[in-house]
Amino acid sequence: MAAADDRRAVGEPRRRWTWLGLVGVGLALLLLAAAMVQTRQFALLRQTVQSSDDFVVLSIYQAETEYLRLREQWRVAATEPAPDLDALRLRYDIWISRVDLLDAERPRRLIRASDEFLRTMEQIEGFIAAADRALGPQPVAEPSTTFLQAQLPGLEALGPPLHAMSLGAAHRVAEQSEQRTQAVREQNQISLALTLSLSVLTLAFALIALNQVRQLRERRLVLEELAHNLREARREAEAASEAKSAFLANMSHEIRTPFHGLMGMLSLLRETGLGPKQIDYLRTATESADHLLAILNDILDMSQLESGRMALAPAAVDLRTLLRDVEALMRPQANAKALALHIDADPAVPERVVLDTTRVKQILFNLVSNAVKFSDRGAVVLDVRVRRDASAEGRPELEFVVTDTGIGMDEATLARLFNRFVQGDNSRSRRHGGTGLGLEISRNLARLMGGDITARSRLGEGSSFTFRLPLEVPAEPAGDAATNAAALAARSRSLQVLVAEDHPVNRQYMAALLENLGHEAHFTTNGEEAVRAARERAFDVVLMDLHMPVLDGVGATRAIRALPDRARSTVPIVALTADAFEQTRERCLVAGMNDFLTKPVSPEKLAASLRRLFGSPAAAPERGDQPAAPVLPQAGGGSALIDEAAIAMALQAMPRERLASMVEAFLGQGPQTVQRLRTAVRDAQPLELRVNAHAAKGAALNLGLAALAATAEALQQGAAHLPAHEIARLVQRYEELLPATREALVAMGVLSGTPAPAAT
């Protein structure tokens, strides 16, 4: 329908232009005709003037008159004895002079040279020839009375034909005059008709032009509407794309949780006394899993970058610590390939800079691991320096240059290097793996930071990647010096940490983590209590769960930030949440939080966050003392019930017994939780349902109880919109998972065989 309209809209102007053209041609033809009529009129007028037929008529009339006078005189002379011959001759000559004129061309034309005319002329000539014998210029006879009398009948015979000629000419002229009048009348009529046609055509022309203008206006309106629709469609498409990105981000996030379980199982499997072939298979499976995890992370990053949700969290950091972290992670890879790894920082590089540690590390990992990947010998060098002269407005830039002695790239490869899914060398891609998103993500991140990544390379001579970003040195006003002093003090003393967490198991878990890090934990169970505690006592940091009864984390943060005492209102606040969504993160930061930790909260994450806030890694001195790998009892097998990685992390932070008691406590509360959930379902209180499910989820995540966490999350997510029987089914499932989880934990050796008495 719309297409048909379009076609008509396109077809109509063309037809209209054709009409316009036809009318234009018509106008031109009419103007030409008008010009021709005018010319003809002019010619007619000129002819009238030139022909002077009236004059001719006068001549003929005079010829007759002169004839009559001559005849009169001749008659008198013929009767007189002594006639005045001179006078007669003069009269005779005058008449002849008149007769001569009749023989001229114009009179002939007028009188149409009829036989009658010719006869008359012959008759006249005959008479003149006879009369001239006596009256002519060379007379041969005497003009006697006898002669005159003899010629008189001849003269008199000329009367009737001359008179007839005179009358004929007069009639002819009258006729001509009538014809002319007729012609003029016709001309006038034609002119009138032309003028009328001209007016009509001009009117038509004007109407068509007017119509054209109207059509153009309508067309413009149609186009405007079309543009509006297109804008609307684009907006919708963008919204859909955004939704898809969010979905992708959520999905990759969701996939990661069970995936951690899978990976934990793989690592457990290794300890079960496998044959060499099985170990080989397992290694391959683990590599695949690692690869898959990397891809998931890449996709998550990419979708966030694309949807514009990727937000940077720049903070003041110790650059050399960052470099040490990079080195620590990369050295094993380099050693494995017998490559030298040098990391050099120019002395001019400031110690502390403002940047997003996680993302900068991610970029450096990507660049360095690429360098290692594509080099078989020689060295990989990471140089860090400050460039002041470099680019725009002479602003100083921090520059990381990763140089390798690898296979290098040719120009064509270099040109498409940063394109999506492009890997340096197709033939090697299988060997080196990777999504092909790494460099694109890195470059996008770099650009997000206001910098860029550039590459130089020559085939066979290695490559050099330069990652630069604007150098920002943290401002250190007087107030900050105190903070720094406090930070320094924090190294030597333990921090006073306020934890706002509604779930008892999570409280226990956080207590264990903080204790393990050497800090002192204080607990509140909702936001309101947290605000009260923060007002009454000075804490070094607040760990704030987002979902809490009475007052949630965001509200509590706002309340604390609004406290009148400046020392109390500026306490650092770190969010704790099971949501990895960027919006949640932004919401926290907007509310005035300083950092954002996703559950499960590992000791490393917590330590890193505290490091970010207090600028010292010394807050977790015990880390080195802990065994690198969790000591897990051998078990026959696990299942997706348990997140082994999370268990492992928890075991880094606390002894098995403590974790066991926490898990026991959580599982022991299970029946009560189920009861609460059922009540909420029965009373149709989705909010209540969600709050309870969320609390259960957070604790289950921290404790690595994957299946319970997933079910609790499904309840939380579906609380508002799932049908009641679905929710009931989920609650039922949660209930069923409680003993199953316990069995799995017993099988893993985390729990002893019998439930703790306290839990029941």
Partner: protein
Amino acid sequence: MSPRPDAGRRRSLTLGAAWMLAAALPARALERPRGPVVLTLTGRLRMPNEGDRAHFDMDMLAALPQHSFSTRTPWYAQARRFTGPLLRDVLAAAGAQGTTLRLVALNDYRVDMPVDDVQRHDVVLARLLDDRPMSVRDKGPLFVIYPFDADPALRSAVYYARSAWQLRTIDVL
């Protein structure tokens, strides 16, 4: 001379010119004709030679400065050559002092001509047609002729009518 001065000024100029012409020839009274009279001037004349009239014979006209041109006319199929004194010289010779000339032909044809015409145009009183005297039959002996071919404006019925042939008398009004 500007071609179209306004009418009043032109008239006084014309009168002035006529007066000056007359004044320029005060002593030369018009001689009397010795041959047959071919042209008679009547009316306001300063130098008549016969009572209040001025008579001219062919010799007197031939004695005046002669003027020649070829022109097409309605009366002849081809262009013909006309020769004779300028009409204004003839008028001056008789000391004519008028504004209108009434031309009368042998057949009593008469037509009025403004004196202005003879000042503005070289109107010739032709006595020779193609260098030969004109008989009465040839519309002679005298033929007032305008230089029609010299000025297209002259080719109109008005001037054709003023071109009196077989001229006999000029009455100066």
